[in-house]
């Protein structure tokens, strides 16, 4: 299985929505505490010599915590940088012309970016300054700022089926559902007693939302009845860092955790844990499921490795 060694500690990975073989990795030096960052664009090449080849890489003065491929332009991606800025990179331009934009408005670290799959030119950034900002690629300033959380917002994710709805996960132990047409959040899901690190929407059921928390659990919520979770999935032994719904199967969830494993869950099933991969030797911090190739998973962690494998196979197999 293809493995790529990054010079810095991995933070996020995402497959390109345009090319089956392409993915990008966000990394930060010194575990993201203090140091430079680098954004890699990798290709799964058929040649056995270098199964994961680097197409391009971009250096940043501060660590890169997250990335998001554009949904409208195949070569554009946004990076959330630890200095609070969101930078746009264009892989079709030579590295000397990159980044093409640096949008600095957050007063603290930018922790996540996410592009809208329906309104393909808009994206959200969430930050440790408790706010979420809405941007479009062609404007130098943010369109909206959503400020309600009482602590760092770790993740803001668009709904895949409603172009105006997004959800956010925050260290104030709440997840919120927002509507850009409304001035504030429309729903507050106080589902965990500890920080909520990640959230994601079910691609096949537009009312289902999953949250992952420091309390080691993943809870699945139905927004129509948000006081009681639909499912609670325990199994990780440390904080769950990222959760992602499968683009191909409605009830399948991938998660990665500080217990160094990547797990797959089916929340509709009694025994939810469907798969567990413990290939990382440090915190597993980023995970993604490919939208174009069913079952293709990628993960990265603080052990500076990026793995790409097919569900059901061993990521460490040669």
């Amino acid at each position: 299985m293809p493995v790529f060694k990054t010079p810095f500690n991995g933070y996020a990975v995402q497959f390109s929505p345009f090319y089956e073989r392409r993915l990008a990795v966000a990394t930060a030096q010194n575990f993201g505490i203090l140091g430079n960052g680098r954004l890699h664009i990798l290709d799964l090449s058929p040649s056995p010599a270098s199964p994961l080849a680097e197409l391009a890489s971009y250096d940043t003065a501060d660590g890169v915590y997250d990335l998001s491929w554009s949904e409208s332009r195949d070569s554009l991606l946004a990076a959330a940088v630890a200095d609070g800025s969101v930078r746009l990179y264009d892989a079709a331009l030579p590295p000397s012309a990159n980044p093409v934009r640096s949008l600095l408005e957050h007063s603290r670290e930018a922790h996540s970016v996410d592009h809208n799959p329906l309104r393909r030119d808009s994206f959200l950034s969430s930050s440790w300054d408790d706010s979420i900002k809405l941007w479009t690629a062609d404007r130098p300033a943010s369109l909206r700022t959503f400020r309600e959380h009482a602590y760092c917002v770790y993740s803001a994710v668009w709904s895949p089926r409603h172009a105006d709805i997004f959800a956010s996960a925050s260290g104030d132990c709440t997840a919120r559902v927002w509507d850009v047409r409304e001035p504030g959040s429309t729903m507050i899901i106080a589902g965990h007693d500890f920080e909520i690190l990640s959230c994601d929407w079910n691609k096949y059921d537009d009312c289902i939302l999953a949250t992952a928390s420091v309390d080691k659990s993943i809870k699945v919520w139905d927004v129509r009845n948000y006081r009681v979770p639909v499912a609670v999935m325990n199994g990780h032994s440390y904080a769950v860092r990222k959760v992602k719904f499968s683009p191909h199967r409605g009830s399948l969830i991938a998660s990665c955790s500080y217990d160094m494993t990547v797990c797959l869950w089916d929340y509709m099933v009694e025994d939810a844990l469907v798969g567990r991969y413990d290939h990382h030797t440090e915190f597993a911090v980023g995970v993604d499921m490919s939208v174009l190739v069913e079952g293709l998973l990628a993960s990265t962690g603080w052990d500076e490795l990026v793995y790409v494998w097919q569900h059901g196979t061993d990521p460490r197999a040669p």
Binding site: A61, M187, A239
Partner: protein
């Protein structure tokens, strides 16, 4: 014979266009109903993403009680709101509670002694009427929010007893030693000199006086000497006391260190046990786990405290405390320690990462946005997306077949192991297609618009072209080339092909064979004709 149904591009709103759903008519009843239901949901006032519950009076009352508490009164409004939100109250309930509890005028607070301690930092923020979230809440110290605060408080308090006892004993020892030293250094010499003076004076007196009182003088001298001796003894005794106290202090200190070491060992053992239970297999725990529990704090109260300590990044990169902390890697702890000391790790370079041209025009997209697998169920882009993704897999599967069976075994590249899965998928999707039999393919997506244009349904049936596609050796390779490496060279080609084929299809398939061959040439267009095949 599907006719071309003209679907107007939807108005640029967020709702999925319902028109095509009903127009196409092909999708099953269920689909259209779903779409309609969703449309209705969105159209009607309360969307499903909003609280539709009425206000709960009991919760509001609890909130009012909470807000009326004197301790809470002194805390920033943001923290109060956040606490209530965490307890599960809706915005309306929180607003109602705030409305019911009048804000105290800022000058009245001094009567409450409880607030006095917090007043220093928080009066300024509580004076400002709360337009909900402001940045000023951030730098305040320990939050008034009960949850984590109480936990941390009890933790702190329980630890406090321990260290308090230590401190008290230490203070006592130090004060005892201090007074002994003071006594020894200042009072005893004075006493001695005074005694000596007295003795001298007495002697002089004796000298002046007649020797008639030598016995008296002698006695007095003897008495003075004994007094001096006694004083000296006292001094020696106090010195010894001081020494012994110091020794005791030392012993005590050593004992404390030993105890600490033991506690640390026990902690590490417990984490080790927990780790073993949790079935992970990593060795680096011993000191790192202890250090973690000391340094990394989760709840934002402490997170902020950490932030104040270090001007850099807080430990809010989520580290847990109550649920057992994840043992951080050793080098992570080293770097944290370095940063806390104010040193900069040596491997950081100066990088200029500003955009070289802030007005750089972004390059035009070379590919149309590909429909998502979950959009398959929608009427608009139903089987088109299946087909489009299917053909990409078709390409792989055919290649797979070409290469023979051996590809699975060898350890090279990604292509073989992708195909394994894909073969299954194509089968399933074939079935799906047969069931739905719908049509709709994304042809071109005009680049960059605010709203998403649904794909045009494909018009014409061309069985011959579809049959021609069934032997797709050549186009697969070409397509492989195109998408992987040569996109830079041939972007326009593909879009041209797309346009051309679309035109051909729309015009009713005049050039049958031409259409087929041009389709063969660019892989992405295969879908169209396959689609039309099913249409027929």
């Amino acid at each position: 014979m599907a006719t071309q149904s003209a679907t107007p591009p939807p108005n640029p709103t967020d709702e999925k266009p319902q028109n095509p759903a009903s127009d196409v008519g092909q999708p099953t009843l269920q689909n259209s109903e779903d779409a309609k239901a969703e449309g209705i949901k969105e159209m009607s006032k309360p969307s499903v993403f909003v609280n539709s519950e009425p206000m709960r009076e009991d919760q509001v009352q609890n909130a009012v009680k909470f807000l009326s508490h004197p301790k809470v009164r002194g805390s920033p409004v943001m923290y109060r709101r956040s606490f209530l939100e965490r307890k599960g109250l809706t915005k309306e309930e929180i607003d109602e509670a705030f409305r019911r509890v009048p804000d105290p005028p800022p000058t009245i607070s001094p009567t409450q002694p409880a607030i006095a301690s917090q007043d220093g930092q928080l009066t300024s923020s509580s004076n400002i009427p709360p337009p909900a979230p402001t940045q000023t809440m951030q730098p305040a110290a320990a939050a008034a929010s009960a949850g984590p605060f109480s936990k941390v408080g009890t933790l702190a308090r329980s630890r406090f007893h321990w260290s308090q006892a230590v401190l008290a004993v230490g203070l006592l020892a130090i004060s005892g030693a201090g007074t002994a030293v003071l006594f020894k250094n200042s009072i005893v010499p004075r006493l001695k000199s005074w005694i000596r003076k007295v003795v001298l004076e007495e002697e002089e007196e004796d000298m002046k006086k007649t020797n008639a009182k030598p016995s008296l003088a002698e006695e007095a001298a003897a008495a003075a000497k004994s007094a001096a001796a006694a004083a000296a003894d006292v001094a020696r005794a106090s010195q010894e006391m001081v020494i012994s106290k110091n020794e005791e202090k030392r012993y005590f200190g050593e004992l404390m260190n030993l105890l600490d070491a033991q506690v640390q060992e026990m902690k590490s053992m417990s984490t080790a046990i927990r780790k073993l239970e949790g079935q992970s297999s990593i060795p680096k725990q011993e000191n790192s786990s202890v250090l973690v529990s000391n340094s990394s704090r989760p709840s934002y109260a402490n997170g902020k405290a950490d932030f104040d300590m270090r001007s850099g990044r807080p430990l809010s990169p989520p580290a847990s405390v109550e649920p057992s902390s994840a043992p951080h890697p050793k080098s992570y702890m080293e770097i944290m320690a370095m940063v806390q000391r104010g040193e900069k790790p040596s491997n950081i370079r100066e990088i200029n990462d500003l955009p070289p041209n802030p007005n750089q025009p972004v390059s035009n997209p070379r590919l149309a946005p590909r429909p998502k697998p979950w959009e398959v169920g929608q009427a608009q882009n139903s089987s088109g997306s299946i087909l489009q993704s299917q053909e990409s897999r078709d390409g792989f599967t055919s290649k797979f077949q070409d290469n023979g069976v051996i590809t699975q075994s060898n350890g090279d590249s990604s292509v073989p192991w992708w195909q394994q899965k894909n073969v299954r998928i194509t089968e399933i999707e074939n079935e799906d297609e047969n069931k739905t039999g719908s049509s709709g393919v994304p042809t071109i997506d005009r680049p960059v618009q605010r709203s998403w244009v649904p794909p045009q349904p494909p018009p014409v049936a061309m069985p011959e072209a579809a049959a021609a596609i069934r032997q797709p050796k050549k186009p697969v390779y070409e397509r492989e080339q195109l998408t992987d490496d040569q996109l830079l060279a041939r972007p326009s080609e593909i879009t041209e092909e797309l346009e051309r084929v679309t035109k051909i299809s729309e015009s009713g398939g005049l050039t049958n064979s031409n259409g087929g061959s041009s389709v063969l040439n660019s892989g992405e267009i295969q879908n169209e004709d396959e689609n039309t095949y099913f249409d027929a």
